[in-house]
């Protein structure tokens, strides 16, 4: 899988930030819409929310289902994906379903979950799991399936047992894609928890967004939105760097 070109120097990144925020400031001051605050006001609102603790509380509330969901989903998903990769029977039964699930808008099921499980932690955890599971399972599966057949023949030629093959060759080889699956799953998890909070319940970041929207406090609403996007971006980027260090492309091999 090809890596996208790296953004480049710190200088370029700074220029990029300046351009973006500068543009935001300008557009905000333009009298097209009262609902679009300039960057400076948004920044101020952000600071206010950090100071009065509302942002902190919201994140605590949002991160709970996210972490729980990803951990559960990760363990079960990776396990199942590996099972799919190693067993033709399991693959036969599950592959079509997961292919469809990967393409499907799972978000459609979230309202149903709300009506079923109420507006608590369970619903949100389920929302995370629903959205993250397909990509985690499929990536683990592909990691196992795409093992270089030459390596497998090599282990057979040296009389390796199936168990040795799985443990010493297939799993290390799949580790890189499994990790990628987790990273992508986390991204989906963020999406799931945000949708859940916007739809379901008065807690967390989603609540901050809808509340401030309803009282027309647009700087604070924007600030909440920007904060969750920034948070997700930073977390996922950090995981990408960990991934690059753990699995440099040379060690991924063929």
């Amino acid at each position: 899988m090809r890596q996208p070109p790296v953004a480049g120097h710190i200088v370029w990144q700074l220029i990029s930030f300046v351009c973006f925020f500068g543009l935001w400031e300008l557009v905000g001051r333009w009298p097209i819409s009262a609902t679009f605050p300039p960057f400076s006001q948004t920044l101020l609102a952000l600071w206010q929310m950090i100071a009065d603790g509302s942002l902190g509380n919201a994140y605590l509330s949002t991160l709970q289902p996210l972490v729980i969901g990803i951990v559960l989903c990760g363990m079960a998903g990776i396990g199942f994906g590996i099972g799919m990769g190693l067993s033709r029977t399991i693959e036969w039964f599950s592959l079509p379903i997961f292919i469809i699930l990967q393409a499907a808008p799972m978000a459609a099921i979230i309202p149903l979950i709300t009506y079923l499980y109420g507006i608590g932690l369970t619903s949100k955890v389920l929302a995370v799991i629903l959205l993250a599971a397909p990509v985690i399972v499929m990536n683990s599966y592909k990691g196992i399936r795409n093992t270089n057949p030459s390596l497998i023949q090599m282990s057979r030629s040296f009389l390796g047992t199936r168990r040795q093959q799985v443990v010493k060759i297939i799993l290390p080889h799949a580790a890189a894609l499994i990790f990628t699956g987790l990273r992508l799953g986390l991204a989906m998890g963020f999406i799931g928890v945000v949708i859940a909070e916007l739809l379901i319940t008065p807690t967390g970041i989603g609540d901050l967004i809808t509340y401030h929207s309803s009282v027309a406090d647009y700087p604070k609403m924007f600030a909440s939105i920007a904060s969750i996007i920034a948070f997700a971006a930073v977390t996922i980027h950090a995981l990408e760097r960990v991934e690059r260090r753990l699995f440099p492309s040379e060690i991924r091999g063929a």
């Binding site: 030459s150 023949q153 090599m154 030629s157 040296f158 047992t161 040795q164 010493k168 991924r252």
Partner: protein, 253 residues
């Protein structure tokens, strides 16, 4: 069948699912302690035959006997060297060379000591801690060769081992291989499409003709290898052999 044949191939046939008949009625004997080559153009089934002898792919007809006994898949007396090296990219050279021993269950200290010995033999001392991506193609194949030697199998099967390296490295390899084998009683079955390589290395050459693969001729070059590596390519028998083979294979190109 001449000499003491350690590997006998009798009536081997192989048809791939889909109908492609790769091999038909192949009969060969490989003498103990000698280097035999399977030579032929692309599509003649030489790699297929080698993998059948290795026990890596099943055959549809006939049987393969090693030391008189029918084979049932891979065995400890046969070691394989792969064309694309088949090294584990996440493991060091040391671990890769010791892999056959690791699968066998040898204790760590013992297998690492053995591995180090063979790493030195193939000329890679100092690279024990490197990863395959840090090595050139030629060096990677040496790792593959060391791995095959380390399990101390009687028979080494080599699938176009030098085709992925450049000409100069290849020549060096051929010389080194002869050197390595000189002091050991190993039987080598070698697959190549290079006529010169076959004539240079082999005690026996089996020419395979394509579609479906069968043995068209067996040639014993009888080249004098005693006078040094460089002299081999000027040996009368070597040159005659190359000529003879080319005349036969020309018609298949």
């Amino acid at each position: 069948m001449p000499d003491d044949a350690i590997v006998e191939v009798e009536g081997i046939g192989k048809t791939y699912p889909g109908g492609v008949e790769a091999l038909r009625n192949v009969n060969l004997a490989f003498p103990r302690g000698k280097l035999s080559t399977l030579l032929g153009p692309s599509g003649c089934g030489k790699t297929t035959l080698l993998k059948i002898i290795a026990g890596l792919i099943p055959h549809n007809a006939g049987e393969v006997r090693v030391n008189g006994k029918k084979i049932q898949g891979p065995g400890p007396e046969r070691a394989f060297v792969f064309q694309d090296f088949a090294l584990m990219p996440w493991a060091t050279v040391l671990r890769n060379v010791a892999f056959g021993l690791e699968l066998r269950g040898d204790p760590r200290a013992q297998r690492e000591a053995t591995a180090r010995r063979y790493i030195a033999e193939v000329g890679l001392s100092g690279f024990e801690a490197s990863h395959p991506n840090q090595l050139s193609g030629g060096m990677r194949q040496r790792v593959g060769l060391a791995r095959a030697l380390a399990v101390d199998a009687d028979i080494i099967l080599m699938d176009e081992p030098f085709s992925s390296v450049d000409e100069q490295t290849r020549r060096k390899f051929q010389e080194d291989l002869l050197d390595l084998l000189r002091h050991r009683r190993k039987t080598v079955i070698f697959v190549t499409h290079s006529i010169e390589e076959a004539a240079y290395l082999s005690d026996q050459i089996a020419l395979l003709s394509p579609r479906p693969g069968t043995v068209s001729r067996i040639i014993r070059p009888n080249v004098d290898r005693g006078r040094g590596a460089d002299e081999i390519r000027r040996d009368r028998n070597y040159l005659d052999t190359v000529d003879e083979i080319w005349q036969i294979l020309k018609q298949y190109v």
